[in-house]
């Protein structure tokens, strides 16, 4: 679209900024003029407070006078072509810049973003290079798991449409054949007569460490898990060796799958819903073979194999297992056994292939769940299925290539999809690095030489694969720089409740506005595995907190709700106020527990409170 960036209507427009957000030229100047002095002040304050913005990163500001156009401005710092002796790095950084912008849009729940060609102006990128990296950034992003609310990315240019046309051309070419854009190829394709400023000798002004880290993050050959959609199924690719398809269907009627997995209790009487359906349709031969196996109790974890009779499968795997019940959360041992079971089932099919049989695909429902609707439990079980498959995908020879997770109701399917997406985003953040590449580095987690190194997607820091997965299972952030790669879940007691009321009275400093009253109630309980001293009991308590019913207050309330749902408001440990250990206590997200008295007495007025609590929430990835 050939319209001025500041004249469209989206959630955010992207500013092609520089490290200092000084907005002195090109798109940046145009935006700064339109958005007004307040906008520039916010930019200056941000830089003063947090320092310069690194290349490929971005910061979000309000839109100020541009309110009619957008709510936010994403100020993105693209690479300066002249700063790079190795132009390959320049290209990578630009693609990363685009990708990071889209990532930010997702985190901020935006639905539409308008973006100019970053780095094409005074940052001197050749137009082709710009268009290619635009395309790559968008493609790499669409290829990733979670797109949040983001529906629309509008590419705009005020000057001419050359870059846009090229981008469009590249994107339609590439996305049709499913390939990815290789930076090396782009580099070769660039016209030679382009003015490569600073090409010889180069002025590598940019920070070295920054450069190195960015390089690592794009130097990828393989991902641990990725997500795509095709013909109504969500497809999760594990390490390029196994594909998991998630969809809704009547499992016993699947036409092209080799193995059907069905759960059975230890009595092996064919009592489950699926077992009964199979018995009804599979026919005499099947019943005959099954009879031979009946009549004796079985062990949990046993896998009995029969023919499929009239059904279109080659084999049926009857898996002996106990059901999860929804009276309480499954414990770690149970979940671990379940993970092993999932892996064993697939592995068993794999082993059969050593003898002549050729079994390539397996279909299973969400095993062991029956009619469970409890979200928390489904999440735990779905996560265990994911881990089980992931474990299988790590084994050397995977001849079973397709796993169909099929459910009769869409509700369960969408629950699995959600779980897999979040797991895949977590694992999708890791990129496997060529082993010979800088393998003499040691991993900061174990302090040993790196074993099967992987790099994190956004910050590029490298670790042993097992180290980082272990770390992510506790906290989804980079062990080096704390960049968040997912949601952080706290150890707040699961039976805590929170209720919010709106009161007409006003808080000091917020006259004319009502007051939100938040009532937290946490019953007495015992510490569990996540807490410092499992088994030890703690006293519960009730707490009341106050927030003004202003725009800011509503934002904070919304964030607090998210934090509460992620178990981050309370924790068990050392209390700053009482000096006691092993007690239920606030978890570094401050609340105003009194209406009055000022900051000294945890009350209002306190003009610094709202920004401070926002920072505290942001430190836990809630923003």
């Amino acid at each position: 679209m050939l319209i001025p960036l500041t004249k469209i209507s989206v959630d955010a427009i992207v500013n092609a900024a520089n490290k200092n957000l000084s907005n002195g030229a090109g798109v940046a100047l145009a935006i700064a003029k339109e958005a007004g002095k307040q906008y520039q002040r916010e930019c200056d304050d941000l830089v003063k407070k947090n320092g310069k913005i690194a290349v490929s990163k971005n910061v979000v500001t309000k839109s100020h006078k541009l309110q009619k156009t957008c709510k936010h401005v994403i100020n993105a710092v693209g690479p300066d072509w002249a700063d790079y002796t190795d132009k390959e790095d320049a290209l990578k950084d630009l693609a990363l810049t685009v990708e990071n912008v889209l990532e930010t849009a997702v985190t901020m729940n935006m639905t539409s973003v308008a973006m100019p060609p970053i780095s094409s102006g005074i940052f001197g990128f050749p137009k082709e290079a710009c268009a290619w990296m635009y395309s790559k950034g968008v493609l790499d992003f669409t290829w990733k798991g979670s797109h949040g609310q983001l529906k629309e990315v509008i590419l705009v240019d005020v000057q001419d449409s050359t870059i846009l046309d090229m981008t469009f051309q590249y994107l339609s070419k590439i996305s049709n054949n499913g390939a990815t854009i290789q930076i090396k190829d782009v580099l070769k394709s660039l016209p030679k007569e382009q003015p490569l400023r600073g090409a010889e000798g180069g002025t590598a002004r940019a920070d070295k460490s920054e450069r190195k880290s960015v390089k690592a993050s794009t130097n990828t050959t393989d991902r641990l898990c990725s997500h795509t959609m095709e013909k109504g199924a969500d497809i999760f690719n594990f390490r390029n060796s196994v594909e998991v398809l998630v969809y809704t269907a009547d499992i016993i009627r699947l036409p092209n799958v080799d193995i059907l997995v069905t759960p059975e209790s230890r009595s092996f009487k064919g009592e489950g819903i699926l077992a009964r359906k199979i018995a009804e349709t599979a026919g005499k031969d099947y019943t005959k073979e099954r009879r031979k196996l009946e009549g004796q109790p079985r062990q949990s974890g046993e896998i009995l194999i029969t023919i499929a009779g009239n059904l279109k499968f080659q084999k049926i795997f009857h898996v002996i297992m106990s059901r999860f019940d929804d009276r309480g959360p499954p414990n770690d041992t149970q979940l671990n056994q379940f993970k092993t079971l999932i892996k064993d089932v697939i592995q068993r099919a794999n082993d059969l292939n050593v003898k002549k049989t050729k079994l390539k695909s397996i279909a299973m429902p969400l095993l062991g769940t029956g009619h469970i609707r409890d979200q928390w439990l489904l999440t735990a079980i779905g996560g265990a299925v994911f881990d089980g498959i992931y474990r299988y995908s790590k084994s050397a020879k995977t001849s079973v290539k397709e796993i169909h997770l099929v459910n009769i109701n869409e509700e369960t399917t969408s629950a699995i999809r959600k779980i897999f997406l979040s797991e895949a985003t977590e694992k999708g953040n890791l990129a496997i690095i060529d082993d010979d590449d800088e393998s003499d580095n040691s991993c900061v987690v174990c302090m040993e030489p790196m074993d099967q190194p992987v790099a994190l997607r956004n910050c590029g820091h490298q670790f042993c694969r097992d180290c980082i997965l272990d770390y992510f299972s506790r906290k989804p952030s980079c062990p080096m720089c704390n960049t968040m790669y997912g949601k952080l879940y706290g150890d707040q007691p699961v039976d805590a409740t929170a209720n919010v009321y709106l009161d007409k009275s006003s808080l000091p400093g917020h006259e004319g506005h009502g007051t939100f009253i938040i009532d937290y109630d946490i019953p007495d309980g015992r510490q569990n595995d996540q807490h410092p001293n499992p088994g030890m009991s703690y006293r519960g308590f009730r707490r009341r907190a106050y927030l003004p019913d202003t725009e800011e207050g509503q934002t904070v309330l919304h964030l607090l709700r998210e934090a509460f749902n992620q178990g981050l408001i309370f924790t068990i440990g050392y209390s700053r106020t009482t000096g006691k250990d092993n007690v239920l206590t606030w978890n570094d997200i401050h609340h105003k527990t009194r209406k009055e008295g000022g900051p000294q007495r945890f009350g209002y007025p306190d003009p610094e409170y709202i920004p401070r609590v926002k920072e505290e929430l942001a430190a836990k990835g809630i923003r």
Binding site: V445, C446, R474, M480, C481, R576, G579, Q600, A619
Partner: protein, 200 residues
């Protein structure tokens, strides 16, 4: 303790022992008596040009089983007057010991960060509200009080005669030395208020 934790602590222990800072005896790390390395004792010296100069501070360090995924638990064993350290329990308010912890940090960086915290308190994020208030409102009294505590508890060598006298005065009235010092410090060295406080 998990293997990775033991392995790390061993390496980190060496890192501290070999460090330049240890050579200049600014920081020090001790295995303590525990065999499993779960509990260590750290020592930092008070930075120069601060009320803590000349003092030696002993720290209790507990390594959680989940180390280095979770931060070590550190608290001051030596009593200290500082806005971010509880004068009663020695508990520390420092972001890297909480949610800003990153596995890339080590015991050496923790010790150095604590030393830096002594040099630059952050009264806006206090652990000890009374100390923080004094730091903000009566910086001179704060400086003297901290110096006095350094001499009293951390083997510091700069005396604050006026404060020592007041402590002795209260002790003469039958109050225990530490309690007297706390009461006086909490009340900006106003003897009357401190006495009232002790009697209430």
């Amino acid at each position: 303790m998990a293997n990775i934790a033991v392995q790390r602590i061993k390496r980190e222990f060496k890192e501290v022992v070999k460090s330049d800072e240890a050579a200049k005896s600014m920081i020090h790390l001790d295995m303590g008596s525990s065999e499993n390395m779960m509990e260590l004792t750290g020592t930092i010296s008070g930075p120069p040009d601060t009320p803590y100069a000349g003092g030696t501070y002993i720290l209790d360090i507990r390594i959680p089983e989940t180390y280095p995924f979770n931060p070590p638990k550190v608290k001051f064993n030596t009593k200290i007057w500082h806005p971010n350290i509880s004068s009663a329990t020695g508990a520390i308010c420092l972001d890297i010991l909480k949610d800003q912890w990153a596995a890339a940090m080590t015991l050496r960086t923790v010790l150095l960060s604590l030393q830096a915290l002594l040099a630059s308190p952050e009264p806006d994020d206090p652990q000890d509200a009374v100390v923080a208030k004094q730091f903000k409102e009566n910086p001179d009294i704060f400086f003297q009080t901290a110096t006095h505590w350094t001499q009293a508890y951390a083997k510091g060598s700069t005396p604050v005669p006026e404060y020592s006298d007041k402590v002795t005065q209260l002790m003469g009235m039958g109050f225990e030395e530490h309690k007297a010092r706390v009461a006086l410090s909490n009340n900006n060295w106003n003897v009357e208020c401190a006495t009232e406080n002790l009697l209430s």
